[in-house]
C-alpha cells in the first residue's frame, strides 16, 4: 500500500510515529500550522513555530526518507486577538519562500465569531495576493455546519479565489455536499470520537464518489491515530472497494491537489 498523509501535525508526534507511518507506506506528509493546545504569548512564538515547520520538521522527516510539506497561518483558535493576528500575518510572507511551503492553512473558523471572520478574510487575501493554495479548518461539532457555510461564503465572495485550489477539511455527512457542490476539495479527518470514523468516511466516498476528496489523520497532541489513513484503506479493502479506488483516494487525490503548488513533487519523481 502507498498513501499520503495530507494533514498531520507531526510536531506533536514522536519519531516512532514517523517510522510507523513510513513502514505503513506513507510517501509524503503535509503539516498545516495549528493551535499548540495553549495560546502563544506573542508573534515571536509563531516565528519560532514557523521555523520549526520549515526547517526542523523537514529534517526530522527526512531521517525516514519522508518528504515533508507545510502550510502557514495563525489558527482560528488564536484569531480572537486581532492585534496578535495582524502581527503574525505580517511575518508569514518571510516564510512563504521556504521550499516546503504549499500554501496558507489551516485557516478557517473555530467558534464562528466576528473576529475569526475578519482574520479568515485577511488570510484569504494573503493567499490570493501571493497565489497560494488554501487549506481550511472547519469548526468542531455543533459549530461545524454554520462555520462551513460562513467559510464557503467568504471564499466565494473573493473573485480571486478558485475553488479547485482550496481544500475544506474536516467535512462530515452534513457538510460534504455543500463543499463539493461549490467546486471545492473536501478533506475527511479520521478521528476516533469527534470527526469521521473510517467507516463513515468510506460511506461518504461511496455516496459522493472519489473526485476532489481525500482522507487524513490530522494526528496531533489530542486523541488521534497517525496510521488512520492506512487503517481506513485496509477497511476499504475489507469492504470490497477495488485497489484503484483506494489508491485514488489515499494517494492520487492528495497528489492531484497539492501538485497545484510548484513546490510539491510527486513521490515517484524524487
Amino acid at each position: 500500500m502507498r498513501y499520503i498523509e495530507p494533514h498531520g501535525h507531526m510536531v506533536s508526534r514522536t519519531t516512532d510515529d514517523y517510522r510507523a507511518m513510513t513502514m505503513a507506506g506513507c510517501q509524503a506528509v503535509c503539516e498545516p500550522a495549528f493551535w499548540a493546545g495553549f495560546d502563544r504569548s506573542s508573534a515571536q512564538g509563531f516565528y519560532d513555530y514557523f521555523c520549526q515547520l520549515t526547517q526542523h520538521e523537514p529534517r526530522r522527516a527526512s531521517m525516514f526518507g519522508l518528504p515533508h510539506y507545510t502550510w502557514l497561518c495563525i489558527n482560528p483558535k488564536e484569531s480572537e486577538d486581532l492585534a496578535l493576528a495582524d502581527e503574525v500575518l505580517a511575518i508569514i510572507p518571510e516564510f512563504m519562500g521556504s521550499p516546503n511551503v504549499l500554501g496558507i492553512g489551516e485557516i478557517g473558523l473555530n467558534k464562528n465569531s466576528r473576529n475569526e471572520m475578519t482574520v479568515l478574510e485577511k488570510h484569504v487575501d494573503l493567499a490570493a495576493r501571493n497565489d497560494q493554495l488554501i487549506l481550511v479548518h472547519t469548526p468542531h461539532l455543533e459549530d461545524k455546519r454554520k462555520g462551513t457555510r460562513l467559510i464557503l461564503d467568504v471564499l466565494k465572495a473573493d473573485s480571486r479565489i478558485r475553488p479547485e485550489r482550496c481544500i475544506i477539511d474536516h467535512v462530515e455527512e452534513h457538510t460534504v455536499k455543500m463543499v463539493l457542490d461549490d467546486g471545492f476539495w473536501a478533506g475527511m479527518t479520521l478521528y476516533p470520537e469527534t470527526k469521521c470514523t473510517a467507516n463513515r468516511a468510506i460511506d461518504i466516498l461511496e455516496l459522493y464518489g472519489d473526485e476532489r476528496i481525500w482522507m487524513n489523520s490530522a494526528c496531533d497532541w489530542g486523541i488521534s491515530v497517525p496510521l488512520a489513513v492506512p487503517q481506513a484503506a485496509q477497511e476499504m479493502k475489507r469492504r470490497g472497494n477495488d485497489a484503484r479506488f483506494i489508491d485514488k483516494v489515499v494517494y492520487q487525490n492528495p497528489i492531484e491537489f497539492m501538485s497545484q503548488s510548484p513546490r510539491f513533487t510527486r513521490p515517484e519523481e524524487l
Partner: protein, 91 residues
Amino acid sequence: MADRKNILDLYFLDARARLIDIAAFMDRVDRAGGGADFRYDAFREALKSLGDGQPGRAEKVLLAFSDPTNEPIPEATTKAACGAWPGANNG
C-alpha cells in the same frame, strides 16, 4: 451495490455493541441525579431520526446537534465545542 448480508456480516456485531452502549449510557444518565441538560435533550432528539426509516440518518443526527443559526457570534468566549448547541442565549 454492496450486498446487505455482507454489510451485516462485517458490521452487525460492532453496531450491536454500540447500540447496547447507548442504551447503557441512557440508563446511567437516568440513574444520576441533577436537572435537565441541553446535551441530553439534543441526544434524545437525535435518536428520533434513527427510527424514521429514511436514509440520511447520520446527517440528521449531526444536524440535531448543530447550531442552526447563520450569523457570526459577537465574540468567542471559549475555544471548546461541547457537542450540542446550547441555544442562542446560552453560548
